[in-house]
Symmetry: C2
Subunit: 420 residues, 2 copies
C-alpha cells in the first residue's frame, strides 16, 4: 500500500487518559513513517473531519507529543456528535470520505465509546463499498467502562482510583467530625446507566465498618424505606454513615432520583444532583446533619491522581491501533485482555468492530452484594488492579504542567463548507 | 518545673494536614521527655477532656506517629464545641482544670481556628487565677485562612492546591467538550465568610483566557445582571466559561445565593449548594449547557494532593508549640512568618493568644481585581507559594495508606461524669 496519511479523532466525554492514547498512537505512527504520512487530528473530534478542520500533528515536537501522556481532557477537542445509519446520515458519511480523499487519508482511528466504534465500523463498510482504501481502527475509551470484550476501558481505572481515594479521604473526615457535627456524607459520582464508577468506591473499604457504608447503584431500584433503615443502622453502629450514589439511581417506578420534584422560585423544575436529593431525605427522615459533594467533571479530569495501569493501557491501545493498521488489519478494535488478577497481568488483544457495535457491558449481578448496597469480593478483585500505580504529572510552582498543543490546522482543499 | 503530662486537642473542621501538626507535636514532646510526660489527646477534641476521655498517645509506636504526617482528617477526632466566656461556661472551664489536675497535665495544646485560640487564652487566664501550673499554647489550623498575624494557616495551602489543580483539570475538560456540549462549568468551594479558597482557583490561570474566567467571592455582593453579561462575554470569546463560586456568596440584600427559593415536592425549602443555583441562572438567562460540581469535603480531605509547604508548616508549628512550652513560654501561638516571596522563604514566629482572639483576617481588597471577578497579581504572589511541592502519601494496591491509630483511652480518675 502506498504511504497515506492518518486521521485521529477523540469522541464523547473526555477522560484523564485519552491523551495517553493519542500519545501512543502518534508516537507509534511516527515510527512507521514508511507507511503512515502525517497524522491529522480532528478539531473537536469527528466534526473536525466534517468541517475539514484538520490539525496537523506533525507541527508538534516529540516533546509536546510525549507530554500528552500526562495531560487530561481532549488535546484536540472532542464532541458529542453521533453519526446514525449510513442511509440516514449518508451526506455525513460521504463528506467524511470526501475529506479523507482530499487529504490522502488512508487510516482512520476513532477513539471513543460504543457509538464511536459503531461509526468506525460503518465507515469501514462504506469505504469498502465505494472501493476507497481506508483502514478503520476503533480505539476504546470511556469512563463508563461499558464496552464489551475488553476487560476494561481506558479512563475507568483513573476514575475508579479518584473515587476510591476520595471516598477514603472524605470518610475519614466525617469520622473525625461525627461526635458533634456531620454524621452522614453523600458523594455523587457519574454513571447514568451502569454502576461501575459507584462500585469503585467500594474498594476504599478494607475492613468491616470502613466507608463507604452504602453504595447506591443504577442497577438496583431505590427503595426509600430500606435505604433509610440502613443509614440509621450504620449511624447507630459506627457513629456516622458514608454513602456513594450513582447519578443514574432511579426509584421503583424508574424515575431518576435527581428529578426529585425540586422547583425554583419560578416553579421551574430543577434537575439537580441526586446527592442533595438523598441529603434532603436523610434530614427529613432521620434529622441527621449531613454534607454532600458532587464530583462531576472533577472525577474524570483528575489526571493528578490517575492510575498508572490506566495510563499504560491507554498508551498501549493507541500504539496497538497503529500496529494493527500497518500490519493490514481493518475494522478491528484493540482490547485489554486480563491474563491474571493476582498478580495482575494484562496484554492487548483484538475484536472485530462489527462485534463491538451496540453492545453495552453492564455490571454482572455477582458484583453487587446480596443486600444491593455494596460490592462483592469478585467485584473488588476486578476493579482494584485497574487502580494500581500512581502516574503523577510533572509540577511547576505547585501546579501540574499539562501540555497545550499548537493545534495548527492544515489548509482546506475542498471548495464547499459543510454544515454540521 | 516538675515533669508533667500534656493534653492535645484538635478542634473544628479538620484538614488534610492537621495530623501533620499532631505528628510534629508528639514527636517533639517525645524528645523532651525530661519535661513532658505522656501526651494525651482528647477523644473528639476538647469534649474528650470534658468527658475525661483521654487517648494515651504513648501507646502508639514511633512509626504510627510518623505516619500521621501523611494522614488527613483528625486522627483523634475533632469537635465543634465552643467554650464561651469564663463566667458563662464556668462549669466547663472548671471541669477542664479538674481533669488536667487529675491526670497531672501541665501543658495544653489547642489546635484550631480563632475560637479555639480564644478558648486557649481563657484557660491560660483561668489557670493563672486559680494558681494551677498550666502552660497553654495555641496551634493554628484552618482551611479558611482567617487567623490574624500568621502569614497563612495550615490546611489552607493544601485546599488551595486542590482547588487550583481541580480548576485547571476541569477547565481543560470543558474546553474539550464546548464545541458541541457543555459550555459553562461551575465549581463550588468552601468559604462562608471569606473568599480565600475561591481566590486560590485563580492561580490555575497562567495566561489570558485560561480558566477560571469568573470567581465569585463572598466579599463582593452578587449582581445577577453583571454576572450573566460576563458569562456571555467569556462564552462568546473563548467558547466556554469556567466559574468558581464560594459557598458564602450573597446577593445585594445579603441573602445567601444557596438559599435560592428551591422547594421540594412537599414545599420544604431546600438549602442546596450555590453551584446548582448559579447553573439554573445560566440556563435560564443564556440557555447554555452546563455542568457543576460541589467539592465540599473532597477539597479539605484531599491529602493525596496536599502541598508540601503546607505539610512542612503544619509539622513545624506543632514542633514549635512544644518548643515554646518547654522553654517556658505561655499563652502564645506559633505563626508562619513569610520572609520572602521570591524565592519563597518562611520561618516560625509567635504571637500572644490575647492578640489573636476574636480577630478574623479577611481578604485584602487589593487581592480582588477591579471588576470583582478575579484575583490580582498580589493575591497570586501570596497564594501560589503556599501550594509549592507535592507531599504524596504512600500507596498500596492503588490506594493511599493512611494510618489508623489504636486510640487507647486512659483509665478515668474522676468519680463523676460530665454532660457535654
Amino acid at each position: 500500500m502506498a504511504k497515506m496519511n492518518a486521521f485521529y479523532a477523540q469522541s464523547g466525554g473526555v477522560t484523564a487518559v485519552i491523551n495517553a492514547t493519542a500519545c501512543g498512537l502518534i508516537e507509534t505512527a511516527r515510527q512507521h513513517s514508511d507507511k503512515i504520512g502525517t497524522v491529522y487530528a480532528g478539531l473537536n473530534g469527528i466534526i473536525g473531519a466534517l468541517r475539514e478542520e484538520l490539525i496537523d500533528t506533525s507541527q508538534e515536537s516529540p516533546e509536546f507529543i510525549r507530554n500528552l501522556i500526562h495531560t487530561p481532557a481532549g488535546a484536540f477537542g472532542s464532541c458529542r456528535h453521533k453519526l446514525k445509519g449510513i442511509e440516514e446520515s449518508r451526506a455525513e458519511y460521504e463528506r467524511l470520505l470526501e475529506v479523507f480523499k482530499a487529504h490522502n487519508i488512508g487510516y482512520f482511528f476513532y477513539n471513543g465509546g460504543g457509538d464511536s466504534q459503531d461509526t468506525a465500523n460503518k465507515i469501514a463498510e462504506l469505504s469498502a463499498q465505494v472501493d476507497y482504501p481506508l483502514t478503520c481502527i476503533g480505539v476504546p475509551k470511556t469512563i463508563d467502562n461499558d464496552l464489551p470484550f475488553t476487560d476494561n476501558c481506558p479512563g475507568f481505572g483513573s476514575v475508579a482510583k479518584y473515587v476510591a481515594v476520595s471516598t477514603r479521604e472524605c470518610g475519614m473526615d466525617v469520622a473525625s467530625m461525627a461526635a458533634t457535627s456531620t454524621k452522614v456524607f453523600i458523594l455523587e459520582v457519574m454513571g447514568r446507566h451502569a454502576g461501575w464508577i459507584a462500585a469503585a468506591s467500594g474498594i476504599a473499604s478494607e475492613s468491616a465498618g470502613e466507608p463507604p457504608h452504602i453504595i447506591l447503584f443504577p442497577e438496583i431500584a431505590f427503595n426509600k424505606e430500606t435505604f433509610i433503615s440502613k443509614v440509621k443502622a450504620y449511624e447507630e453502629k459506627y457513629g456516622y454513615c458514608v454513602i456513594v450514589v450513582s447519578e443514574g439511581v432511579r426509584d421503583e417506578e424508574g424515575k431518576f432520583l435527581s428529578d426529585s420534584g425540586l422547583r425554583d422560585a419560578f416553579g421551574h423544575a430543577q434537575l439537580g444532583g441526586v446527592a442533595p436529593a438523598i441529603a434532603a431525605m436523610v434530614k427529613e427522615e432521620l434529622g441527621l446533619k449531613y454534607h454532600w459533594a458532587v464530583s462531576d467533571y472533577l472525577q474524570r479530569s483528575a489526571r493528578h491522581i490517575a492510575s498508572q495501569t490506566d495510563v499504560d493501557q491507554a498508551y498501549a491501545l493507541g500504539k496497538a491501533a497503529v500496529e494493527f493498521a500497518v500490519s493490514g488489519k481493518n475494522a478491528v478494535m484493540p482490547i485489554v485482555v486480563r491474563e491474571s488478577t493476582q498478580p495482575y497481568r494484562w496484554t492487548i488483544g483484538e475484536v472485530p468492530l462489527a462485534d463491538v457495535a451496540n453492545i453495552e457491558k453492564t455490571m454482572p449481578p455477582s458484583f453487587i452484594s446480596d443486600d444491593g448496597f455494596g460490592i462483592t469480593q469478585e467485584c473488588r478483585d476486578y476493579i482494584q488492579p485497574l487502580t494500581y500505580g500512581e502516574a503523577y504529572p510533572p509540577y511547576k510552582d505547585g501546579l501540574p504542567q499539562y501540555v497545550r498543543l499548537k493545534n495548527v490546522l492544515v489548509e482546506k482543499k475542498l471548495e464547499h463548507a459543510f454544515e454540521v
